[in-house]
């Protein structure tokens, strides 16, 4: 490539002096100095503000997060450390037309994945038809044999989804990961928006931004729809692992937004396959559990026997249909990163359509030919453990050391089924306000999808930013931050 590093012309106002374009798709600029249509007003506004004014707003935003106690926990030691989730001042903007494609693509994908889950826990027709290899499904550590033949309300397995999207160098959105178990981050999306409205009120008013505030309400409506038929006015709770969990802030935040109790395992009791919570006025029935605890921990009688976070007997109530778990148990098999490679085929199989949002090329180490390719190209590929998430168990080849590559080589050879690899994708970049000036950083996008009576997608989602220069890892546990995401009305 020639001319990949074009600087903005001299004479540009201060904040953009250091801004550079490269091979990655730039969210704001189509070419040097030329903002895309939907970014123009933001561009102009940034020109009017001095770096000092911007800095002041950034500080106001940071302070607001600090005071609200919007923190997450990093597991470096056993106690975990609380940190503020870094927030970037500049919004990421998505045009109405682009969003339309994303929305249709997500609805299609979620619909197909839900049908897939129902199928593999019932007749497994897709496996008989050899569209997805049965051993990939049966060997997935998230495939739950306890779910076989069990019917969930309205056939809905994946109630809350947070799909990770990235933008390819040509600007097209693609799916990086399906998060179908307990996706987190919606609270940051809402908190980012609230702060943005406070620090940039003027800009906000005139931009035509689609709202997000309804998320708590929509989540509640969705949970209500999933209640067991006999529960009347259903009692809904959010089940959290507790205060030491990294997402505890989010649990408290969402429980407040939904107006439902935040419970821990020890608050719940099962008797004769019915769930109750222990309150000061006695035992109160529970009909729907928005659980933020992994399958493994929800019931020591059925899953991990040493679990102290779960509720003994919960699964018996679930099996009888007396309580709904959202998401259903066993959804993790469909976001296994090896199954991911088959999602376009899954969409075609159930819906007879081509996938609207493409996948990233994926090499399965369970296949010996693909595996040897992966082992030969560890320095250029991204390797991921199939059952992990949150940026754990991942090797970014081009940024790795020789020791790290050797460690992964050893692990892959020991358990090939547990790994997949993908080409290193140059994620798109968006302007970020860092140390007094605007610089480009890699971003992804996690929209939140609610699957109830209908599919609701929050316009926008959480844009995560790799704040370290050149880094492609956006996870909060790995030094990522986030920014407000605007989807425009038109």
């Amino acid at each position: 490539m020639l001319d990949t590093e074009l600087s903005i012309q001299s004479g540009m106002p201060a904040p953009f002096h250091a801004y550079q374009l490269d091979d990655a798709y730039d969210e704001m600029f189509s070419s040097a100095g030329r903002p895309r249509d939907h970014y123009k007003r933001l561009f102009r506004r940034l020109m009017e503000l001095t770096p000092e004014e911007l800095e002041e707003r950034q500080q106001a935003a940071d302070l607001s997060f600090l005071h609200q106690g919007i923190t997450f926990t990093v597991y470096s030691d056993t106690r975990g450390t609380e940190r503020i989730f870094p927030y970037d001042l500049l919004p990421r903007i998505i045009s109405a037309a682009e969003w339309d494609t994303v929305e249709r693509g997500l609805i299609q994908r979620i619909t197909a994945l839900n049908l897939f889950l129902h199928d593999i826990y019932h007749d497994a027709q897709i496996l008989r038809d050899k569209v997805v290899p049965f051993d990939l499904v049966y060997s997935s550590k998230h495939y739950r044999r306890e779910m076989r033949g069990l019917d969930v309300p309205h056939g809905i397995y994946i109630t809350v989804v947070g799909t990770d999207l990235i933008r390819l160098p040509d600007g097209q959105f693609a799916v990086l990961e399906d998060n179908l178990r307990v996706p987190s981050g919606a609270s940051y999306m809402l908190a980012n928006r609230a702060v943005m409205k406070r620090v940039f009120p003027g800009l906000f008013r005139n931009y035509g931004i689609r709202p997000l505030d309804f998320y708590g309400q929509a989540l509640l409506t969705t949970m209500r729809y999933l209640a067991p038929p006999a529960s009347g006015d259903p009692s809904i709770v959010l089940l959290s692992p507790g205060v030491f969990n990294s997402a505890y802030f989010e649990h408290t935040f969402l429980a407040r937004q939904m107006g439902i109790p935040l419970v821990e395992g020890r608050d719940l009791i099962v008797h004769d396959a019915r769930v109750f919570m222990r309150t000061t006025s006695g035992l109160r029935p529970v009909n729907v559990i928005y659980r933020r605890i992994d399958d493994d921990f929800i019931d020591p009688l059925v899953f991990r026997k040493d679990s102290m976070l779960g509720v003994p007997g919960l699964f018996s109530a679930y099996r009888k249909g007396n309580v709904t778990l959202a998401n259903a148990a066993g959804t993790g098999v469909a976001d296994d990163k090896a199954i991911y490679a088959y999602v376009p085929a899954i969409i075609r199989y159930y819906l007879g359509e081509d996938a609207i949002l493409p996948n990233i090329d994926t090499f399965l180490c369970s296949d010996s030919v693909q595996c040897s390719y992966v082992l030969d190209n560890l320095d250029s590929l991204v390797v991921k453990a199939v059952g992990e998430s949150g940026g754990y168990g991942m090797l970014v080849g081009p940024h790795s050391t020789a020791e790290q590559r050797e460690e992964f080589r050893r692990q892959i050879q020991a358990n090939p089924r547990n790994f997949i690899a993908q080409p290193t994708i140059n994620l798109s970049r968006a302007p970020c306000f860092l140390e007094g000036q605007v610089e480009a950083r890699h971003v992804d996008l996690r929209p939140y999808i609610l699957y109830g009576e209908r599919v609701t997608i929050v316009p926008g989602g959480l844009t995560r930013v790799a704040l370290r220069r050149g880094s492609l890892v956006v996870n909060s546990s790995q030094g990522g931050g986030s920014k407000d995401t605007w989807v425009l009305h038109e």
């Binding site: 005071h67 609200q68 106690g69 507790g242 205060v243 505890y248 408290t252 935040f253 429980a255 407040r256 107006g259 439902i260 109790p261 935040l262 419970v263 821990e264 020890r266 608050d267 009791i269 008797h271 109750f276 919570m277 222990r278 309150t279 000061t280 006025s281 006695g282 035992l283 109160r284």
Partner: protein, 327 residues
């Protein structure tokens, strides 16, 4: 809005409140001690130290290990092994608050968090070399501020009543404890001295100050510091917020309110216990109490307070679930 409250939440609010009250009490006691000591004879100071340890750490603590006020300040303020040290109390209160972060408002959280950070950020050397009074006083101020925010900002729902229960059960217990330990020793000393010398006078004043009562007492009895008046005031005065009687009145009021909010059966044991203790204080006469033995009277109060605590747990928090399933 959901009117029921999780038992775990009630438990956390109750203990958050108790631990803060305890931190407040310990801070005041050390503060009073440090201001009295310079004017005290060595032997009296040693005795006083031992009384404080008995009261604030527990009877049976090896007092020999603490042979200076420096050691005492460490033990009561920073000692990680003493679950009643100010540091541990504040940390426990904050941990309880963190468990119910969504139930308390931001100001309450910030206040308790700030108190925690300020205690964490203080070293024994800094404190000892500097102005201990300012430090302990600031702890009292922080606790009052927290209670002020709680009282002015929180709805009078179940949560508030559990906070009240924690505060007043703790407070009554502290006052009764102080009387029990201090009085036993001071009273016999006073009798032996026949009239009470200046040293003993100082001690009585110290007792009142430790119970946050000196100014209020003086308003009622002027500077007439007499053991029987002290007893009357700290035990039976229904208007003074640190008296046992006042505390039990508050406990009973909150229990009544909770009973209505949770539809607890009127004949529940917890109400009978509170009613009995209240009657004992309502009709208590200081002369009778002194005649028949203050020690046994205080013991009865302490036992009954402990029973009320137990009964609260049995009724609202740790109840056996088979009873409730049958109901």
């Amino acid at each position: 809005m959901n009117s029921s409250m999780l038992s775990r939440v009630a438990d956390s609010l109750y203990w958050m409140s108790r631990y803060l009250e305890r931190a407040d009490h310990v801070a005041r006691q050390i503060d009073v001690h440090l201001t009295l000591v310079p004017e005290q004879a060595t032997e009296a100071a040693r005795k006083r130290r031992n009384r404080l340890i008995a009261c604030l750490v527990g009877e049976g603590y090896p007092v020999e290990a603490v042979d200076s006020d420096y050691d005492l300040v460490h033990l009561l303020t920073f000692d990680e092994d003493n679950s009643n040290s100010i540091m541990r109390c504040v940390a426990s209160a904050r941990e309880n608050a963190r468990q119910v972060r969504e139930q308390i408002n931001t100001q309450m959280w910030e206040q308790i968090n700030q108190l925690y950070l300020s205690v964490q950020g203080t070293s024994l050397e800094w404190l000892w070399q500097g102005q201990p009074h300012r430090f302990y006083h600031s702890i009292n101020q922080d606790v009052y501020r927290f209670q002020g925010i709680t009282d002015s900002r929180i709805s009078r729902d179940q949560g508030w009543h559990f906070v009240q229960l924690g505060r007043y059960i703790e407070r009554s217990a502290e006052t009764a404890d102080t009387l029990n330990v201090d009085f036993r020793e001071l009273y016999s000393a006073a009798l032996a001295d026949d009239a009470g010398d200046q040293q003993t006078y100082l001690e009585w004043v110290g007792l009142l100050r430790g119970a946050a009562a000196y100014e209020a007492y003086s308003k009622v009895y002027m500077a007439n510091v007499q053991p029987r008046f002290i007893i009357e005031f700290l035990l039976l005065n229904p208007e003074f917020p640190y008296s046992v009687h006042f505390g039990i009145n508050m406990v009973q009021a909150s229990l009544d309110a909770l009973g209505a909010l949770t539809d607890t059966h009127k004949s529940s044991r917890v109400f009978r216990l509170a009613g009995r203790l209240r009657a004992m204080l309502d009709f208590g006469q200081v002369d009778e109490i002194m005649d028949s033995g203050l020690g046994s009277y205080l013991l009865a109060i302490q036992n009954q307070s402990a029973q009320i605590h137990e009964a609260i747990y049995q009724t609202y928090i740790n109840y056996p679930i088979d009873d409730k399933l049958a109901a």
